[in-house]
């Protein structure tokens, strides 16, 4: 259930006329999107629609070719310093978890705070244990990633991103690689995170999650944003045909 509309403050993330090409093929076409602090956006759409690419542009894992991207006041350009600043404020959770197998879970969580935020090791470990407890895997802290189940690994990945105290959390299909019985535990912690007021952009097919948590649902197809509305409107009265078709495919079964 979304909160009352946030007061008019400067946007946390602003994408203005963002376009990206692979060769001659346009994968993002004049994307315009604004995200206010504390807002939760769910992005959905058929595969190949560019939703992952758009999200990965926000922390410069991919670079945009036209338009502007501004994150928390910093514009994303080729300037390395800007990129580093943005990456410190933005946390990302991947579909394939991408935990570092040669470090323990605790090691995974403390690596960036120690080396990027220059935190003392003890302090980093305390913060890490707090988040690991929040993710309900505190007892796994000294194990290696391959010893955990998929659901536990993804929760560890979320904790790792949170340890950097990001202002924004990006989720790129976080539950798509999980067995069905583990999707629930990951969505649970994401819901808790949303309730605490974190700004989130989440690419997912989990429509139940969208209904419960999203302030806005964005539908993308073929590189464009087709439909953008609050969850209620989006699910009951979508305006565009392509969106209706997509919803019927997703929700039909």
């Amino acid at each position: 259930m979304s909160e009352a509309a946030a007061p008019m403050t400067a946007p946390m993330i602003a994408l203005e006329n963002v376009s990206k090409w692979y060769g001659q093929f346009a994968v993002l076409k004049d994307i315009n999107l604004t995200v206010r602090p504390g807002e939760k956006i769910v992005v959905c759409g058929p595969s190949g629609s560019g939703k992952s690419t758009m999200v990965r542009c926000i922390n410069r894992l991919e670079s945009h070719d036209d338009g502007r991207i501004v994150v928390n006041g910093t514009e994303l350009t080729r300037d390395v310093r800007n990129i580093d600043t943005v990456r410190r404020e933005v946390g990302m959770v991947f579909q394939q978890f991408n935990l570092f197998p040669h470090l323990t879970i605790l090691g995974n969580c403390t690596l960036a705070p120690i080396w990027v935020r220059k935190m003392p090791k003890k302090q980093a470990e305390e913060i890490a244990m707090e988040y690991l407890t929040q993710m309900r895997i505190a007892d796994q802290a000294h194990k290696h990633p391959m010893q955990l189940s998929g659901g536990q690994q993804q929760r560890a990945a979320i904790a790792r991103a949170l340890c950097m105290h990001p202002k924004v959390m990006l989720f790129d299909e976080p539950t798509s690689a999980l067995d069905p019985e583990m999707i629930g535990e990951v969505l649970e912690v994401m819901v808790d995170l949303a309730k605490e007021g974190m700004t989130m952009i989440c690419v997912t097919h989990e429509m139940g999650f969208a209904r419960e948590v999203a302030d806005r649902v964005v539908f993308m197809d073929a590189g464009e944003i087709i439909e953008e509305a609050d969850p209620h409107t989006f699910f009951t009265a979508p305006q565009h045909d392509r969106c209706r078709l997509f919803l019927s495919q997703i929700l039909g079964h």
Binding site: N59, L61, D84, R87, R88, V90, G91, M92, F94, Q96, N98, L99, F100, P101, H102, L111, A112, I114, W115, V116, R117, K118, M119, P120, K121, K122, Q123, K143, H144, M146, Q147, A157, R160, A161, M164
Partner: protein
């Protein structure tokens, strides 16, 4: 009532396997006995001795390069040791050089710079497809023998002199009290290392790393320098100097050693480059993305995430490559470098005719090196295995 199958012993799987193995063993023993009989016969006919007594006999030939004392009156056994040390010498030098070059080329192949990547690819694809023996001959006969005579040597200032007698560099002569300077060097290195550990500890404790980059070279070089001055320069450098028709003084690497080292290093580096490249590529792409998403710089993500994972994949084939290099050093016989095979399985075998003993010893030595490497590799794999489920 159920019929009972007749249990015949020759269809029983247990007895069949025992029977088959017994057959194999008997055949093998019979074959070995026949071979031994032939050999004893043949050796007697040629009036060749048997046994390992020859190892104590006088060698009667000289060796051009020795790391240990050896004269014509030394025994065959001693000649074997000379050969072995020479093998180890050329192998160790080549291993160090090839690793340096190989890592650079391997990382270069993955560079985002198109020119660098192409150049490294050309290097690897050219050298891996030409026989090593040809490369050895090229370096020795084509390059080193083609160097000018000492009177017209190529020289890099006064430091390196290249001519067809070899490569000469200045030699350090240790005078009185020089051991103190060496001790100072060791002390300085230890102090620099301790400083490094202290800085690491500080960082983990407080998050900030003290600036140490200027202090470490100061310790490593400054302490020995201070010792040198205060002791009145106990070192002397012996420069290679042209006297008459050749160079005297300094340290000279024979053209055989130089040629073999050059060929071995450059050839093996091409293989090491491929191993390094495969190791770096084996680290999943998502690892680099996750590291970058967390804000780590390129250097940090290489150091903390990518290289530790890549080394696991690199080290085992790297050890195999080192072993290969050591075995390949036996090509020394083609250019007259006195390694184990050239001295022992070459000259000594020709003089004594005791092929069986000599080749067995030679093969035994290489086998021992192989097994040692395997054992060390198993230890490394066990110590660095990734903890997994089950």
């Amino acid at each position: 009532m159920a019929a009972r199958a007749r249990h015949v012993w020759w269809r029983d799987t247990h007895w069949r396997s025992i029977f088959a193995q017994a057959l194999v063993l008997v055949a093998l023993v019979a074959f070995a006995a026949w071979l031994a009989h032939n050999a004893a016969d043949a050796l007697a006919r040629r009036h060749v001795a048997s046994g390992f007594g020859f190892l104590d006999k006088t060698a009667g030939f000289s060796i051009s390069q020795t790391l240990i004392d050896y004269t014509e009156e030394s025994s065959y056994g001693r000649a074997m040791w000379v050969g072995l040390w020479n093998t180890l010498l050329v192998s160790v030098i080549s291993i160090v050089l090839s690793t340096l070059i190989g890592f650079l080329v391997g990382i270069g192949r993955l560079s985002s710079n198109w020119l660098v990547a192409k150049l490294c690819t050309v290097y690897v694809e050219t050298l891996r497809n030409i026989p090593l023996l040809l490369q050895v001959l090229f370096w020795y006969f084509g390059v080193l023998q083609a160097l000018p005579v000492p009177r017209e040597s190529l020289a890099l200032g006064e430091w390196v002199v290249l001519n067809n007698r070899g490569v000469s560099v200045p030699e350090v002569i240790f005078g009185r009290g020089s051991w103190l300077v060496v001790a100072a060097l060791v002390l300085g290195s230890a102090a620099a290392f301790a400083l490094h550990r202290w800085a690491q500890h500080r960082q983990l404790r407080t998050g900030h790393r003290p600036v140490t980059w200027w202090a470490m070279p100061l310790l490593v070089l400054g302490l020995p320098a201070a010792a040198t001055f205060s002791l009145g320069h106990p070192f002397a450098l012996s420069w290679p100097e042209l006297t008459g028709f050749s160079y005297e003084g300094g340290l000279t690497l024979s053209p055989e050693l130089a040629g073999l080292t050059a060929a071995l290093s450059i050839y093996t580096a091409a293989y090491i480059a491929e191993i390094v490249r495969a190791g770096l590529l084996s680290v999943a792409r998502g690892q680099r993305e996750a590291a970058e998403a967390l804000g780590l710089t390129r250097g940090q993500s290489l150091r903390l995430v990518l290289i530790p994972q890549a080394m696991r994949v690199i080290i085992p084939p790297l050890a195999s490559e080192y072993l290969s290099l050591t075995k390949n050093s036996s090509l020394a016989i083609a250019i007259g470098y006195p390694d184990l095979v050239a001295v022992f399985a070459g000259t000594v075998l020709n003089q004594t005719g005791q092929a069986i003993e000599i080749l067995s010893i030679t093969m035994g030595i290489y086998l021992a090196l192989s097994l040692l490497t395997s054992a060390l590799m198993n230890l490394y794999n066990h110590a660095h295995r990734l903890e997994g489920i089950g």
